[in-house]
Symmetry: C2
Subunit: 191 residues, 2 copies
Amino acid sequence: MSKRDLILSTALELFNQKGTAEVSTNHIAEACSISPGNLYYHFRNKAAIIQALFEQLYAAWDTELSLPNDHTPQLSDLTNLVETNYQIIWRYRFVYRELVALLRQDLALHASFLSTRQRGFSGFQQLVEQFIAAGIMRPIEAKTLDQLMQICWLISEFWLNNLEIQQQSIEPSTINSGVSLMLRVLQPYII
Amino acid sequence: MSKRDLILSTALELFNQKGTAEVSTNHIAEACSISPGNLYYHFRNKAAIIQALFEQLYAAWDTELSLPNDHTPQLSDLTNLVETNYQIIWRYRFVYRELVALLRQDLALHASFLSTRQRGFSGFQQLVEQFIAAGIMRPIEAKTLDQLMQICWLISEFWLNNLEIQQQSIEPSTINSGVSLMLRVLQPYII
DNA sequence: CCTGAAATAGAGTAAATACTCTAATCAATT
DNA sequence: AATTGATTAGAGTATTTACTCTATTTCAGG
């Protein structure tokens, strides 16, 4: 593993443990057993480390959330996708824990996050539209569909936060409850 | 206004603007035009200021979210409640922006928040059960009902965060879209 | 083996932070 | 006027933070 990757994975672990505000660059360097100077050789500043971790998150979404597009979609595709998404978010959990604060402090980060998020949302919406086309779901009026999508998206983004607030351990079973929550929203429209 | 209240309202304003990590006790004191020593006369430490603001939030929920219990409930009661709740959360918006981080740093705060939250959730659930009893909503199986409540609750807690991420201005119209999102969840069960 | 660039160590700095301490002031009561 | 307790100012402190600078080491290619 390159030193750059070591710094990033160590920072990720510490950020997830204690939050970005509580973890200093010196902490990260010490946890990596390297000097502060070395850390600043690899990263311009602390914000650059956070940005790089966001980039990793984007990459994880891109590579791990792809759909097999050679078959007609099934509901299981949706649940798989959502579950994988929860796993990714959990891996980078500091991001959603502090999301609003982090984005407010960094305009460029906000922009990149918004566009990545928009891509994800569009893909999600297309999947549901494929369900309708395939007769798995009833036709839905445009505005209603948009609202349903927004609700599902809200669940997928904030369900883990909700679990953490409730101090529930994040295990497959609790994560699955987030998946079934989303299915509950769509259920009245599933044939 | 007592000096204590001045400190709290100033701190609230600054926390909402910049986040708790970016606002120091010295900042607060300066913004109040008082000395740091004076601030520490009124509050043991920075955490105590945050705790006091949480108490104000609890109080706002208690006093402003009461239901008129002399008439059979109507759907408009629900929308009014949710709207008022959004206004309260917006007033103390730093709380939900940083919620997971704040609670993880302060065990006592976490406990008080959880119990207050539980009370609110129960009240909300009772209201919906009254709708069912009044024939406004169809009877719903227990597990389904619980899931619906959780979804609505998630929306009420995180909708403003979602708006902030989208950089949308928080206005009556955008807040109303949060209310109709919740109605969209319940709509299939409304008679 | 030499060279030079990349990588690293580690001391150092200016600023900020949470918080303390002491002395002064105020305001009400005796 | 004197006393007393609540309030306030403001200087001070130890620590931490993000980040810089310079000197040294590593190591691949000629």
